[in-house]
Structure formats: C-alpha cells, structure tokens
Symmetry: C2
Subunit: 147 residues, 2 copies
DNA sequence: GCCTCCTTGATGCAACTGCATCGATCGATA
DNA sequence: TATCGATCGATGCAGTTGCATCAAGGAGGC
C-alpha cells in the first residue's frame, strides 16, 4: 500500500478539485433557497423522506443513520430536533429494549409536501437546467462508480 | 419565475441525489485519511496552496475568500488558526489601511509538501482509481457547466 | 443462570459555523 | 475638506458538529 506507485494525472486532479468545489457551491445554493423560503435544512428533508418511505413500520435510528451516512451522534441530535419540532415520533422498540422506532408524523409529511416544490425548483435552477439529458445520465453513472 | 413550469426528470433527480451523497462520502474519506495521518483539514491545505500560488505578493483576505468560496467570517477565523499555528503571516496592507496581506510561511510550505503525498494517495484511492480517463474528463467538463 | 463482549443510542465538552453587527478606512461627491 | 455610503475584516452569541465516553440492553458461551 504505502509503497505502491501512486499516479494522479493532471486531468484527475482537475476533476477532483472541481468535484469538491462545485458540489459545495451547488449544494449551498439549494440550501440557501430552502432557507430563504423559511424551511429547515436539507438534512431534515432527507430524514423525513426516508421515514416516509419506511411507512408504516418506521425505522430504527441506526437504520436511518446508515441510509443518511451520518455519524451516530449526529443522527441522535438530528432526531432530537425533529422530535422537538413535532415532525417525528420516537416509539420504544418492542423487539429491542435498547432501541427505538422513528416514525414521521402527519406534520412531518406535510413539511415534506410543502418543501418539495421549492426544493425541486432549486434543483432544477442550480443543477438540472445546466445539463442536458445525456450529461445527466453520464454524471449519474460516473458518480455511481465512486461509491 | 415563480409561475415558470418546473420539470425535474427522474434521471436528473437521481443524478442530484447521487451528487450530494457521493461527493460527501468521497470527501469525508479523503479528510479521514488526512486526519489519520495527523494532518489538519483540507481547508487548511486549500488556503495554504492558494497563498503559495500567490507568492511572493500574498493575498488579501477577501481575495482568498473569493477563491475558496468561504464566508467572510469563516475565512477570518481560518486565518486566525493558520496564523496561530505558524503557517501564515498577516502583514498590514500598505495600500489599504483597513486591510492585510496574507503570506504563507516556510513552515506552511513545508506542511503543503508533507501533506501532498497523503492527499494525493487519498484522491487516487477514493476517486481517480475508480474512473477511467474518459470518465474523468467528462466529469470535469460536466462539473464545469454547473458553475 | 452468569459472565463477557457487542450493539444501540445519549451526552459533556471543545471546536467550528452561521448570523448579526461593529469599528475602521476608503472613495465619491459636493 | 467634510460628509456619506460602501468595503474590509473582526467578534459576541447561539446553534451545530466531532470526539470520547457512558449506560442499558442483547447475544453467545460456559
């Protein structure tokens, strides 16, 4: 590993730098649009969306954490905020005394529905409108390989 | 604007979701490699690199801020940390009594040189090795259009 | 059952970020 | 030159994140 020859082409370095910068810029533009419309951050949307997809069983916190690729303590605090805001409920897990089951509330679903038009418009304006269909498809494939 | 028809294809939505997730994951892997090697975060590297490129004149804080796409207060604090760690110097700007000129120190250049092998290896492992040359080039072009 | 190790989720603390605002200086205008 | 709005950079405060650690409960071996 350590001694392995490690070649980084000029083109790859450029692509790397651009990936870091551009994804940051575009994401922050979308977040800014959401905030300007009075909505919470994208991470709230992501969490609620996963919980809506998991209806009606809900999700264990560690499952949501895996799907969102969040650190455990960050998920714990995100769910605190979501619960305090009334967008999710925490139930005790009948199968595991340590755990919980998270479920989105009706208020949470309503938030998803009201955020989506703004979120969608932001994705279109800052991302989708700047690429044609073949570029979009190629980008999705390329990103897939980076997982 | 508000009334404009706003279409988001399934493919574009997929590409968007992947861009957000993948860039976050890959970036965090690279950052983790740097941290594991005992190095400071990537933002320190970026700042020092810009200042090295700007040698010997240095950069005004607002110029560095524009290049790094950082909020003004974040740049102010980043430079605090870099200065406290001895990687940069702040000089008074002879042309503008409000401002400063930031310059990388020899210690800062040494940090750049010692970080680069680890950083490069991480880029290769988590990014460049997963794509072929044509994908890399296409990705760079596509990302360019998102600016 | 009991011991041990693993998993689940929470939390104290320090560091960092976002927001609003400030003081200082610059530049344009009268 | 005096004034006024704009620009430059710093900072107090609150919210968020990273790190280390903890308590509680589960799962497997004896």
């Amino acid at each position: 590993m350590q001694s392995e020859v490690c070649i980084l082409s000029e083109e790859a370095a450029t692509a790397w730098a651009r990936l870091v910068r551009v994804s940051q810029v575009v994401l922050s533009r979308v977040e800014a649009d959401l905030k300007a419309a009075g909505f919470p951050p994208l991470s709230w949307y992501d969490a609620l969306l996963e919980l809506e997809r998991a209806k009606p069983e809900g999700l264990r916190p560690y499952q949501l954490q895996e799907r969102m690729l969040l650190a455990q303590y960050n998920l714990s605090r995100l769910t605190d905020r979501l619960k305090k805001a009334g967008y999710i409920e925490r139930e005790e897990c009948p199968k595991d005394g340590r755990g919980q089951v998270l479920k989105v509330t009706e208020k949470g679903c309503a938030l998803l529905r009201s955020m989506w038009p703004i979120y969608r418009r932001a994705i279109v304006a800052h991302f989708a409108d700047k690429l044609d269909a073949s570029e979009t498809a190629a980008l999705a494939l390329t990103l897939m390989k980076l997982r």
